[in-house]
């Protein structure tokens, strides 16, 4: 089973993925098995049907799949400081994690969260018991709370500012242990 999976995955591809995402060789082959099992159409991509709400996973090949998962790797505390600053930021850096989270809201990818986008997210997340009017005012209030420049949208910077201010531990919240 394992051999088949790694046979399908070219060695150099694994190396590239490893470099980009920081996963170990073993993890990559393991996740590749998972990927192929999810891939019902057997065309090397996962389609939207499986992952309705994570826009990152819209039509992904294995490379993209790994890239997405890499966001959820915990940050290595020690390695972070030793790296030279010129190197590109790893996918699991704080900023990238935040950007990933931001894109979950930013459905139309215009770099800002509008009220309507927020409403959609709210409708999915908040329980069914809350009426639409209440949802609307929650959305209003949320935007107003974060919107420092008053344009009625939440930009990425504003988004970061809110999350920095509070004690939401983004590194912790956006990490899964076994993806270490």
């Amino acid at each position: 089973m394992g051999s088949r999976a790694s046979r399908l995955l070219r060695e150099e591809e694994i190396e590239e993925i490893k470099k980009e995402t920081g996963f170990s060789h073993r993890k990559i082959t393991r996740l590749y098995r998972r990927f192929t099992s999810l891939d019902k159409g057997e065309n090397g991509t996962l389609s939207r049907e499986d992952f309705q709400r994570i826009p990152e996973l819209d039509q992904v090949n294995f490379r993209g799949f790994m890239r997405t998962l890499a966001h959820f790797r915990p940050i290595d505390q020690d390695n972070e400081k030793n790296k030279n600053p010129s190197a590109t930021e790893p996918l699991n850096s704080r900023t990238n994690k935040l950007l990933f989270a931001f894109r979950l809201y930013d459905l139309d990818r215009d770099g800002k969260i509008s009220r309507d986008e927020l409403l959609q997210v709210l409708r999915m997340i908040v329980g069914v018991n809350v009426s639409d009017e209440e949802l609307g005012s929650i959305a209003d209030r949320t935007i107003q709370e974060a919107d420092t420049n008053g344009d009625g949208y939440i930009s990425f910077n504003e988004f970061i500012m809110v999350l920095e201010k509070g004690n939401v531990d983004v590194e912790q919240m956006m990490s899964i242990w076994f993806l270490h």
Binding site: S37, R53, L57, L69, L104, L119, T142, G150, G166, M174
Partner: protein, 846 residues
């Protein structure tokens, strides 16, 4: 400082009085005090009474022949026990009062340490008077009357999510760590004795292990007391605190097992007994938790139907919590675990089921009980020390125990954390581990267990009690004092105090969902996955059974935060208004929207939109939750009007409002808190007002006074009433205040022909506050487009929500539908708004 000395003096006097009372009672009879029996603080009334009555009490008032009718008689024995208990509680709490009077001291030395020191002083005073310690902490009092409420409070206020996230680590420390502590301490001491380090002691290996097991447990009371004042980060706190709570199961088992082994004697212990011991651990721990869970569910179920007995509904939590403790104790299960789980299990449901007032009552009463008994525990820990009987000094034994307790705690914590860290997402850092080890405080539980030892079986009981006390003092006082500097010095991550924001909460929730999804996608079952399954189960089954249907709605976290923020805003809004001397702006908006939470936020939105209009002020004020800019604006608008109004209104109120007699206001009732629902009074007010009005009306007809002013005033009067209502309650009051006034007017007002022309034309003629406000606003400041869109409760506003409701699924269809709608919305704005009385939630728009 002078104040605290005054208090100390007062305390001394109190104590003397108390002594004097008891001596006065005892002198005529036998000299009870010399027998050294523990009279007070033994609220087993039966015992105390039987001892008193048997020896003295009966003679006090029954046997003596009565020669004449005594007008007053001195019946000290009648009240001795409860009196002394109450006095001691008072004295302990006064100690706390003295200590807390000076914050310079408490910021350096933790309160628990100071309380113990006060205990020393009080004990010294008693000892000086009696030459023997008559009061001390007995296991019965401690375990049955002082400990339960502290633990119940801990369980009830437990941050459940944090606790269960770290449950693995906590359990490992609580179970393995405690066993390790007990075994290592017992064995090492035994080894030292074999090596001859502490002279001639009559203690066997099993007795050492028994001693080790009672010393092993970290004490929840001491941990809470010390860590509450050092705000370390959540994870660290829950690790220490959770461990201290859960290791009780282990301690009880170890203690019982070794106690039994000591009784059995070495040779009779075989493999079967040891296996029984291990089995009994699981039974005791899980059984105790199960009892707690059952009682927790019972409480939750009960609070579903206590709506009609709101006054005593908080009592159920305490009674059933206590019962769960006693039941577990009766079944020889872990009582502490039982009451912890009881509290943890019921907290969510009772908070949702009960009335807001009851929830607050539970919260405060719980804290009051817990804090009170914690104080008593520490004071009595101090008092117990001043007793010559228990002090058996053995330098080697005591010092070695201290050393081993500390060293093995460090070794255990570091080793276990090293293992745990390999499986933790966020590893516990080195400094955290140091604090965890150093936070291994021993306390009253260990002392209570030590006192429970059987003197016949263990010859050196007093040495053990004395060593336990020293360890307790060492850990609570010395480690307690040095904890804060250590935390500072090691730069331990402290708990951040921040206010929650909606986006944060939302993002948090979103992260949770995402993590579950990712775990699912990558084919792993992690704890996020488990949590989502549990949540699903909980929401669909547990809540359904245990929660009132009406309460279920409020369970959404995001909505909850939203609600909280709105309440806070509303309060700030009112305070700000009051500070500025008027609630005019509130009133104006009140006439448009009822001050319900959601509408409130929209009105808030207008203000914000206004703010964004003038960008100069915005940069400084935009983060300010109080819409100060708009306040100012309103003030400018209304200033002239208001001054005149105020004068008029005051004048009118003086003239026309009937001032009810105060004693009517608070009727005493055991079952209700209602203030003044007296029909008669309301009627009286109404009639008086009417009479006044009629008078002025007739006089106006006769040309003495123009009626117009009255017409105007009545409206003012209604408005003026509002600030009074405001100050009483937060958001709802303005609404209810309105209603109240209407109800004053309506019942008889309609029948009164003289009055009708007064009221009705006024209502009709008045510009709808709706229109009035929007006109005022737009005349002063050009509203931004957004503000217009957000004008509260315009039909367009509601209609704008409609498409959202239709298209819940796809983005595209939504945006398509929205475009024409927004255009239409603009045209909607031009139409005159409908009359205000129409309820905002009209089904026609949905």
């Amino acid at each position: 400082m002078a104040a605290s000395w005054g208090f100390t003096l007062f305390l001394c006097v109190l104590l003397m009085v108390c002594r004097g009372l008891s001596l006065a009672g005892e002198d005529p009879d036998q000299t009870l005090s010399s027998s050294g029996q523990v009279k007070a603080l033994n609220p087993e009334i039966d015992n105390a009474l039987s001892s008193n009555h048997g020896t003295t009490g009966e003679g006090g008032h029954a046997v003596e022949p009565i020669t004449t009718l005594p007008i007053v008689s001195w019946k000290w024995h009648h009240v001795t026990t409860p009196y002394l208990v109450a006095l001691w509680i008072l004295v302990s709490w006064l100690c706390k009062l003295v200590i807390e009077a000076n914050h310079h001291v408490t910021s350096v030395i933790p309160e628990s340490a100071l309380l113990i020191c006060f205990g020393f002083i009080l004990g010294g005073m008693i000892w000086a008077a009696d030459k023997v310690q008559t009061f001390r902490l007995t296991p019965t009092v401690f375990f049955f009357y002082l400990l339960p409420q502290v633990i119940l409070d801990a369980g009830y206020h437990m941050p459940n999510k944090l606790f269960f996230t770290n449950l693995g680590g906590i359990l490992v420390h609580a179970v393995i760590g405690t066993c390790w502590n007990a075994a290592s301490l017992g064995l090492s001491l035994w080894g030292c004795q074999m090596g001859g380090a502490m002279g001639d002691l009559d203690i066997g290996l099993l007795q050492y292990l028994l001693f080790g097991s009672l010393m092993a447990a970290v004490d929840p009371v001491a941990v809470i007391a010390v860590f509450e004042q050092v705000h370390v980060n959540d994870v660290l706190f829950i690790m220490v605190f959770g461990e201290s709570l859960l290791n009780d199961g282990v301690t009880v088992v170890l203690f019982n097992v070794f106690d039994a082994f000591v009784s059995l004697g070495g040779p009779k212990i075989d493999a079967a007994e040891i296996i029984k011991g291990i089995v009994s651990f699981f039974v005791v721990a899980f059984g105790g938790s199960l009892v707690g869970l059952v009682f927790g569910l019972l409480i939750s179920l009960l609070t579903r139907c206590t709506k009609n007995i709101q006054i005593i509904e908080p009592g159920f939590i305490f009674v059933l919590g206590y019962l769960s403790y006693l039941t577990a104790e009766m079944l020889s299960l872990s009582a502490i675990l039982s009451i912890v789980f009881c509290g943890m299990c019921c907290q969510k449901y009772i908070n949702a089921n009960m009335d807001e007032n009851s929830v607050q009552t539970v919260r405060y009463a719980m804290k009051a009980f817990a804090n009170g008994s914690e104080t008593i525990i520490f004071v009595f820990l101090g008092i117990s020390a001043i007793d010559k009987v228990i002090w058996v000094w053995n330098t080697g034994f005591i010092l070695l125990t201290l050393l081993f307790v500390l060293v093995y705690r460090f070794i255990g914590v570091f080793f276990l954390t090293w293992i745990l860290n390999r499986y933790r997402l966020v590893p516990l850092e080195f400094v955290d581990q140091v604090i965890m080890s150093y936070g291994g405080l021993r306390g009253a539980v260990a002392y209570g267990l030590a006192v429970m030892l059987d003197e016949n079986k263990i010859k050196e009981k007093n040495l053990m009690v004395c060593t336990t006390l020293i360890v307790v003092y060492f850990t609570v006082i010395l480690q307690g004092i040095t904890m804060k500097p250590l935390v500072m010095w090691l730069k331990v991550k402290r708990a951040a105090v921040t206010e929650v924001s909606l986006l944060e909460k939302l993002t948090n929730k979103m992260f949770n969902h995402t993590l579950v999804a990712i775990e699912d996608i990558s084919g792993q079952i992690g704890h996020n996955y488990m949590r989502s399954k549990w949540k699903y189960f909980e929401e669909n089954w547990m809540s359904w059974i245990l929660m009132k249907p009406s309460a279920r709605k409020k369970q959404d976290q995001v909505f909850d935060v939203f609600h909280q923020l709105n309440l806070k805003d509303a309060m700030e809004y009112v305070t700000e208004g009051e500070r500025r001397g008027s609630l005019e702006f509130v009133r104006n908006e009140n006439s448009i929207i009822d001050f319900k939470k959601k509408s409130e936020s929209e009105s808030f939105d207008i203000n914000n939109a206004n703010m964004s209009n003038d960008h100069g002020a915005m940069s400084t004020t935009s983060r300010d939750p109080i819409p100060s800019v708009s306040l100012e604006m309103h003030e400018q608008i209304m200033k002239a009007v208001r001054e005149a109004e105020a004068i008029n209104a005051h004048h009118l109120l003086d003239q026309h409002l009937y001032k009810s007699r105060k004693q009517h206001r608070h009727r005493f009732s055991r079952s209700h808190f209602d203030i003044n629902r007296d029909e008669k009074e309301v009627q009286e007010i109404f009639q008086r007002t009417m009479r006044n009005r009629l008078k002025s009306f007739t006089s106006a007809k006769m040309g003495v006074k123009p009626p117009k002013t009255i017409v105007k005033h009545t409206q003012k009067e209604q408005q003026q009433k509002m600030p009074n209502g405001k100050s009483m309650d937060k958001a709802k009051t303005s609404y209810s205040g309105d209603e109240g006034l209407i109800s004053f007017v309506h019942p008889a007002g309609i029948e009164n022909p003289a009055f009708m022309p007064d009221l009705d034309p006024m209502d009709l003629l008045q510009i709808p506050p709706w229109l009035g406000e929007s006109e005022l606003d737009s005349s002063m400041v050009a509203l931004s487009h957004r503000a217009q869109v957000d004008l509260p409760r315009t039909p367009s506003n509601l209609r704008r929500l409609a498409p959202l409701r239709i298209s819940t699924r796809s983005t595209d269809s939504f945006t398509l539908e929205n475009i024409p709608d927004t255009q239409q919305m603009d045209s909607d704005q031009l139409q005159p708004p409908p009359p205000p009385p129409r309820p905002p939630r009209d089904d026609g728009y949905v």
